[in-house]
């Protein structure tokens, strides 16, 4: 007779990890104060209540995910305010600590000139610098990708901002503060060029650059039907039973989405890859249940 003790084992496992977590949280120098932890929890970073585990590694993974999604999605995705705040602060503290360590190294050099010890100390420093460069590269690429989209959808974003009252996606959730400034200033400069070079010579009814009444719509909206590659990852906290959208059949978990134009239902099995219209998976993407690749 088999007695299934998996759940008992799981409980035991949880205990140990809980202890680990506590030790980890108290001893790690995450440079996050407890107030920040609270804000992150309350505002639901990935739109779902995950366990309060914020770690460097998880944040980096989250950044990679945001980066990938931003690269492949046709629209400008909401800016991860809290994540970026944490990451940028860590980058600056890491730069400081690297400087401190390298200063120590110089001091050590003066004290004892044994080259062997110096070499040993260099490796962690190199690794830290290389890692910092990696993180900085991803952040830079992420921001540049967003800036190029802001350029592209400049007019569209303005229309969103103008009917901010009616639209639930306010411009401040979509853009970071510096991006708002960039958008504003870049748009003004562009408008100035257009006005000075050509628009002032046109009849006044043709001077608007956001005319939607003419034969061609001047406001470029994102291509909502763009085809994207999608990896179905399942709910972000990998708690499959809690997700109301998830359907189980024959040992498979899947989401059911509908392509409206074709009137067709598609089963998105967790763990597989699809090519789909962006508009179909948009809500799943914002909930972090699928990932663009």
């Amino acid at each position: 007779m088999d007695v299934n003790i998996d759940d008992i084992l799981a409980e035991l496992d949880q205990d140990t990890t809980a202890v680990d977590y506590k030790v980890d949280a108290s001893s790690s120098q995450n440079a996050i104060n407890s107030t920040n932890d609270q804000t992150v929890l309350n505002s639901s970073l990935t739109n779902t209540k995950i366990q309060p585990t914020i770690s460097l590694e998880k944040d980096y993974k989250l950044l990679l995910r945001h980066w990938q999604n931003e690269r492949f999605s046709p629209e400008l995705l909401p800016y991860p305010h809290l994540l970026m705040e944490r990451l940028l602060r860590r980058v600056s503290t890491q730069i400081e600590s690297i400087e401190l360590i390298s200063m120590n190294l110089i001091d050590n050099d003066n004290v004892d000139t044994s080259k062997n010890g110096n070499n040993l100390n260099m490796l962690p420093l190199l690794v830290m610098e290389a890692e910092l460069e990696r993180v900085k590269f991803v952040i830079r690429s992420f921001i540049r990708c967003r800036l190029s989209k802001i350029d592209k959808f400049s007019l569209y974003l303005r229309t969103i901002r103008d009917n901010e009252g009616g639209n639930d996606r306010s411009i401040n959730g979509l853009l970071s503060e510096s991006e708002v400034v960039y958008h504003q200033k870049h748009f003004n400069i562009l408008l100035k060029i257009f006005n000075n070079s050509i628009l002032q010579h046109l009849p006044s009814e043709l001077q608007a650059i956001n005319d939607t009444e003419g034969s061609v719509n001047m406001i470029d909206a994102p291509d909502w039907d763009k085809f994207v590659f999608v990896l179905v990852t399942g709910p972000p906290n990998s708690n499959f039973s809690e997700d109301p959208l998830l359907i189980k059949s024959q040992d498979k978990f899947y989401y059911n989405v509908t392509v409206e134009e074709l009137n067709e239902d598609i089963e998105l099995t967790v763990g597989s890859i699809y090519v789909l219209r962006y508009s179909v998976i948009k809500t799943l993407l914002t909930d972090g249940k699928v990932q663009l690749i």
Binding site: S215, V216, N217, M218, I219, D220
Partner: protein
């Protein structure tokens, strides 16, 4: 297709044969004789950006006594006639052999034009034919886009010296067996080909040549 899309602007400049349904004074410059009116039933070529709007709007039909007719539809200024690009001859050629068809000589912006035309007339039959054409040609485009990398691979296997071989093959974009097909691509297909080719090339470069 955005407002600032150059290919879109060029597509809109393609000329469509049109037939005027009204006598309009002052528009004679469309027929290259300014100062004269344009006559009913006169045929002329108009760019799509003009023809499209003229084919939609029109004068409201007015009865003798000046009252509006409610049931009669307003007759648009012009009637669009099928352009050469979608004539029966071309349709038959597409059906016969999509791959060997010289799309570029029919119209450099064939696909973009077809999309606009289909949107204008809701032409399901043409939509099916053009979709089939695109799918068939896409396979061929993929073959051609990936062919250069196959060359690179083979030569590396023979010589085992990838650093020099790649540089000779990198610019080998229009070698002989490719070029005849590539000359038949329309602007949209050229863009697809170029992107596919670049991505194949970059992937191979990354694998064989740091």
């Amino acid at each position: 297709m955005g407002y600032y899309d150059i290919d879109d602007v060029l597509t809109d400049a393609c000329e469509i044969p049109c037939k005027f349904k009204h006598d309009i004074p002052g528009l004679g410059y469309l027929e290259n004789n300014p100062g004269k009116p344009i006559r009913n039933n006169s045929k002329l070529l108009l760019p799509l950006w003009l023809a499209r709007i003229l084919a939609i709007v029109g004068e409201d039909p007015v009865q003798e006594d000046g009252t509006m007719l409610d049931d009669a539809e307003s007759i648009p200024f012009v009637e669009l006639m099928t352009p050469d690009a979608f004539s029966a001859k071309v349709i038959n050629a597409i059906k016969a052999d999509p791959v060997s068809l010289d799309v570029h000589s029919i119209s450099p912006h064939f696909f973009a034009l077809a999309i606009k035309w289909i949107a204008l007339f809701n032409d399901k039959e043409l939509a099916a034919i053009v979709t089939e054409l695109m799918l068939q040609r896409a396979q061929e485009i993929n073959n051609h886009a990936s062919s250069v990398t196959i060359d690179v691979k083979r030569q590396i296997d023979i010589t085992g010296d990838n650093s020099t071989v790649y540089s000779t093959n990198a610019g080998n974009l229009g070698n002989n067996n490719n070029s005849t097909f590539l000359l038949t691509l329309d602007e949209f297909e050229k863009r697809v080909y170029k992107q596919a080719h670049e991505s194949y090339k970059d992937a191979k470069r990354w694998m064989y040549h740091k």
